[in-house]
């Protein structure tokens, strides 16, 4: 327990009785002294107050009686009036001063020593100086100051009063001290007697260790509570002692039970050991390999069969890591992973390493042994399947060899008699086409050809054989392995006898399918290309064109291939193009033709066609070629021109519209001013002279006219953004921001808003409009504030193209569907009573930003606040001025 108040050292060992007495005496003495001091102070100020009041009254009375004497400068009469001061015992003297501040008449009490001031103060005054109090009062006659009266009085009576007071206080002090001492000695026994009783009891309990004694309670105060607490504590100690005795008995009983249980368990263990030994013997001599692997992968037990199977001794196997005995690291990793996940492995194949280095195949069945859900070791049963495995492997290998051989055969060698018949079995033909010898004998082989090719091949074949010279033909032949026809090239060469007659023919069939297909794909790709494609050689001769090119120029394919490329050019470009073409082939590089120029081709009918041409050189076997890709851009050119025309039209109509709005609103003002003026005059002259309905109607007219005026003014401001802006100049944005905040000063203070901003950059723009922009945005933030105190921050971020400004507030926010609408002219989201305004501020803002070539948008979370963003590009000004220049032209 921490002491809150520390007693002064001399009292620390005193009894409560003396401490209480001391406290009571100290408190009464201090209260008495403080009360006395206050009374004395109060008496003194009352005395001063009374004295001042007395002489003020005297001054007013004497002054009033002296007006005539002052007015007619009768000093004698004035002195007589002043002499009346002798009736007041305090007054030492008095004097009258004329309006010029000169002493006019005076009075001094007999025997008093008084010096009158030489001049008068500018105003009425009163003061205490030493033992004197004096006063200056103006003497007036009907508001005209005639002079001053001065009265001085003594304050010495105060000392007599004070002496008397001090005597009374001293007597009272002695009385109070004695009385408080007597009372405190008597009354403190209420507290000290019960405490002394409690102390007595606690000493007895400590001495006798008798917890059945109870303290006597006197009162229901804190000491009474202390006695109750003390008695409770004794109750609890007594109870605790009984509980401890009970617990000791219980403990004794438990120890005896435990001894009985231990004897029982020893007997059971002996039985268990015996049955375990029997089981171990059975497992050790089983005819299947068994081992256990611990969670760390170490073999912790293996039976005899397992060791014999792999040829290890027990020490060489047990205690080693299981992976040492596996050939395939991933397999054993997988096994261990499965087992640690508590999965069961069945018939899992693995390659095991024997002691002599040979490899055996094992079929593993295994599961994990768990104790209380925790992995202890695996239990693996290994069966030797090496022999079975070897047989399987041999079979698979032979099959694979056969398959590879067949697949690899793409060439066929054949022999035929002088008339072209297959007379002997053709093994390689059989493998390629899958035709059995009886099927391909004689002209049976024709059936392996593509139906479309059979007739031409037969024809060429017969002719070739008849001519008796080597020949070559192409045909599509059935390829049994891929299951479709392949393009093939067949060559035939005659072998002649000594007499020169053909003895037999020998030949090959080569698979050229891949090449042929690639060529076809390429041709189709070129044909299907959306652009016109054309290949020309180094002489400028057209080697290939596609369908698109035919359509584009109106020529047929046969009319172009083999012709010089210049056929497709306008007449005037043909001669220079030959030189350009030669230059291209001297340094062939992919490029766009005629960069920066409009290119035209010449159709067969002589009409020009606008084109864009890309050139790509490539090297083929027979030299360098150029692939030209040609796009017809007639349509695009037309669209571009159309777009340009629309754009000009739009700009002109925009400009006219702005002018119209300005002129319209400007001209509207004049008649409106007449209407508004007349309505206001009507209101001033005939207010409450007609009936109430008339008053109401006139009022509607006046407010309606005022609103219309405001709308027109807003419209004028809006249209002036575009038409009456100042030329752009470089300016520091902090200027406009500061000015905008100064303009909003009243509103900011009224809202108690906190407005912060980043450092402002220098931009090129219209300073006045920037001020208006900031003023509208900050003003909006103030206007649409919620219940919270407005916090507005103006931030700036430099982007590559300019500055991004953001005005962030914590106001009522805007629903997303209104993000665009708020920027419209006279668009309001709230009615006029909720938030005043015409709904043009943001429209003006956007127009100002657009004049600066920037963009403006808003982001907001309703109820949380809004952020108005706008950009001011770095190069905006030049562009704007350029545009103005163009308009003047």
């Amino acid at each position: 327990m921490k002491a809150i108040i520390t007693n002064p050292a001399p009292f620390r060992d005193s009894s409560i009785r003396w401490k209480l007495t001391f406290i009571i005496v100290i408190v009464s003495v201090w209260s008495f002294l403080l009360a006395g001091a206050f009374l004395l102070w109060d008496a003194r100020s009352t005395f001063k107050q009374t004295l001042l009041e007395d002489i003020t009254i005297l001054a007013d009375v004497i002054g009033s009686n002296s007006t005539a004497a002052l007015a007619f400068r009768d000093a004698e009469a004035a002195a007589e009036t002043l002499a009346a001061l002798h009736t007041d015992g305090h007054v030492l003297g008095g004097a009258l001063y004329d309006a010029g501040g000169r002493l006019f008449a005076d009075y001094v009490r007999a025997g008093a020593n008084v010096t009158f001031p030489a001049g008068v103060p500018a105003q009425d005054q009163e003061a205490f100086e030493g033992e004197h109090a004096w006063i200056f009062r103006t003497v007036r006659l009907k508001d005209r100051a005639l002079g001053r009266i001065y009265i001085v009085a003594e304050t010495t009576q105060w000392y007599a009063l004070m002496r008397h007071f001090a005597g009374v206080m001293a007597l009272l002090f002695i009385g109070v001290l004695g009385l408080s001492l007597l009372l405190s000695l008597r009354l403190q026994s209420w507290i000290t007697v019960p405490i002394a009783g409690l102390l007595d009891i606690s000493r007895r309990v400590a001495r006798e260790r008798n917890y059945s004694i109870r303290a006597l309670k006197h009162d229901n105060d804190e000491v009474g509570a202390l006695v109750d607490g003390f008695n409770d504590m004794l109750d609890q100690i007594q109870q605790r002692r009984l509980e401890v005795e009970r617990a000791q008995d219980e403990l004794q009983r438990r120890v005896e039970d435990l001894a009985r249980e231990v004897a029982e368990r020893k007997r059971a263990e002996a039985e268990l050991r015996q049955s375990r030994e029997e089981l171990a013997d059975f497992v050790e001599n089983a005819s299947v390999g068994m081992h256990w692997v611990g969670p760390d992968g170490i073999v912790i037990w293996a039976n005899r069969h397992e060791l014999e199977m792999l040829g290890y001794t027990k020490d060489e196997y047990v205690g080693h890591h299981i992976t040492e005995f596996h050939v395939d690291q991933p397999v054993i990793d997988e096994i261990l992973k499965c087992l640690l996940r508590n999965e069961t492995l069945s018939n899992y194949e693995a390659r095991l390493r024997c002691k002599d280095g040979s490899i055996r195949y094992g079929l593993i069945n295994s599961n994990a042994y768990l104790e209380n859900g925790k992995f202890v070791h695996t239990r693996c049963f290994t069966r030797d399947i090496t022999e079975r495995k070897a047989a399987e492997e041999a079979l698979r290998e032979s099959e694979e060899r056969y398959r590879s051989l067949v697949a690899a055969t793409t060439s066929v060698v054949w022999t035929a008699d002088p008339s072209g018949r297959f007379t002997e079995p053709q093994t390689s033909w059989q493998i390629y086409t899958g035709q059995a010898p009886q099927d391909h004998a004689n002209f049976g082989w024709l059936a392996a050809l593509h139906p479309d090719d059979r007739e031409p091949v037969k024809h060429a074949w017969v002719e070739g054989f008849a001519a008796g010279v080597p020949f070559e033909i192409e045909a599509r032949i059935w390829h049994a392995i891929s299951g479709r026809h392949h393009y093939c090239s067949a060559r035939a060469v005659p072998l002649r006898a000594a007499d020169g007659a053909v003895r037999e023919w020998i030949g090959t069939v080569s698979d050229i399918d891949d090449r042929q297909r690639a060529e076809e794909k390429f041709r189709l790709a070129v044909e299907a290309a959306p652009n016109g494609m054309m290949i020309i050689d180094t002489n400028g001769t057209i080697a290939l064109i596609n369908q698109q090119l035919e359509k584009m120029f109106g020529y047929g394919r046969d009319e172009l291939v083999g012709k010089p490329v210049e056929v497709l050019l306008p007449l005037s470009d043909r001669t220079p193009h030959v030189a350009h073409r030669d230059q291209f082939f001297r340094d062939p590089q992919a490029r766009t033709m005629g960069a920066g120029r409009d290119l035209y081709g010449r159709r067969k009918d002589g009409r020009p066609v606008a084109v864009e041409i890309g050139l790509n050189p490539f090297v083929a076997q027979d030299g360098v070629f150029c692939l030209a890709s040609i796009i017809d851009i007639t349509e695009r050119k037309r669209a571009e021109q159309e777009l340009k025309r629309y754009n000009e039209e739009l700009q002109r109509s925009n400009h006219e519209l702005g002018q119209f709005a300005y002129v319209a609103s400007h001209d509207l003002q004049e008649p409106l001013r007449a209407v508004s003026g007349c309505a206001q005059l009507l209101q001033q002259r005939y207010q409450s002279k007609l009936d109430a309905r008339a008053d109401e109607l006139i009022n509607h007219a006046v407010t309606g006219a005022a609103r219309m005026q405001a709308l027109i003014n807003d419209l004028l401001v809006y249209s002036r953004v575009g038409t009456r802006g100042k030329p752009f100049e470089t300016c520091d944005c902090s200027g406009p921001l500061k000015e905008a905040l100064a303009n909003l000063d009243v509103a900011i203070r009224e809202a108690g808003a906190v407005i912060t901003h980043d450092a402002m950059p220098r931009v090129t723009g219209d300073q006045t409009q920037l001020t208006q922009l900031f003023q509208n945005l900050v003003g909006n933030a103030l206007k649409f504030r919620g219940d919270r105190r407005p916090e507005i921050h103006v931030s700036v971020e430099q982007k590559s193209s300019g500055y991004l400004f953001a005005v962030r507030d914590n106001g009522i926010g805007i629903e997303p569907q209104y993000f665009e609408r708020v920027f419209g002219v006279f668009q309001r989201l709230h009615n006029r009573r909720e938030y005043p305004g015409n709904g043009i501020g943001l429209a003006i803002c956007r127009k100002i930003v657009e004049r600066h070539q920037g963009r403006m948008w808003v982001d907001s979370v309703p109820g949380r606040g809004s952020v108005f963003y706008f950009t001011i590009p770095i190069g905006g000004a030049q562009h704007e001025q350029h545009e103005r220049y163009n308009q003047r032209q």
Partner: protein, 174 residues
């Protein structure tokens, strides 16, 4: 006399604040008399029914005040503006509804007092025996100072209430 001149100039300047600019035009005696007239007005009450918005001070006979009295013109007395008028003939003055009539030495005071209406007019004279003739206040010279006599019965006849403070200062009253 030099002492008195100094005193009067200072007095005029300090107590009324008027006429300082006109000092050179009038004799010192009339400067003092003009200020006395002004001070009399402060201590005397007229019956309420004699006013029509202005307070009229009239001078009968040769005007020796010159511009000093004109300085009072336009001053305000109890909400009424002072106007100053000058007359040669008592009859003309009598018809002019004056509130104060200064009867100069050159005028026949006895005749004037006969002709002037007794009600609401403060007559101020400067010849011995003026009060005996029925005038209200007479200005006299004593020991080089200007002093005044007041006829209480004449004042009562005229319906004027004179402050006791003024009466205290009157000659023959101490």
């Amino acid at each position: 006399m030099k002492f008195m001149r100094t005193l009067i100039v200072v007095y005029l300047y300090a107590s009324t604040g008027v006429g300082a600019a006109a000092v050179s035009d009038a004799s010192l005696e009339y400067q003092v008399k003009a200020s006395y007239i002004y001070n009399f007005i402060q201590f005397i009450e007229w019956p309420a029914d004699v006013f029509n918005g202005e307070f009229k001070i009239c001078v009968l006979g040769a005007d020796r005040f010159a511009a000093v009295l004109d300085a009072l013109q336009g001053e305000s007395v109890a909400g009424r503006t002072i106007r100053v008028a000058r007359f040669d003939q008592p009859h003309a003055a009598a018809a002019a509804h004056c509130h104060v009539v200064f009867i100069g030495r050159s005028a026949d005071s006895a005749e004037a007092l006969q002709v002037l209406p007794s009600k609401g007019v403060l007559t101020v004279g400067e010849v011995p025996g003026f009060t005996a003739q029925g005038g209200v206040i007479n200005l006299v010279e004593r020991h080089g100072n200007i002093r005044f006599q007041v006829s209480v019965p004449a004042a009562q006849r005229a319906g004027l209430t004179i402050s006791s403070r003024l009466l205290q200062l009157a000659l023959d009253n101490r």
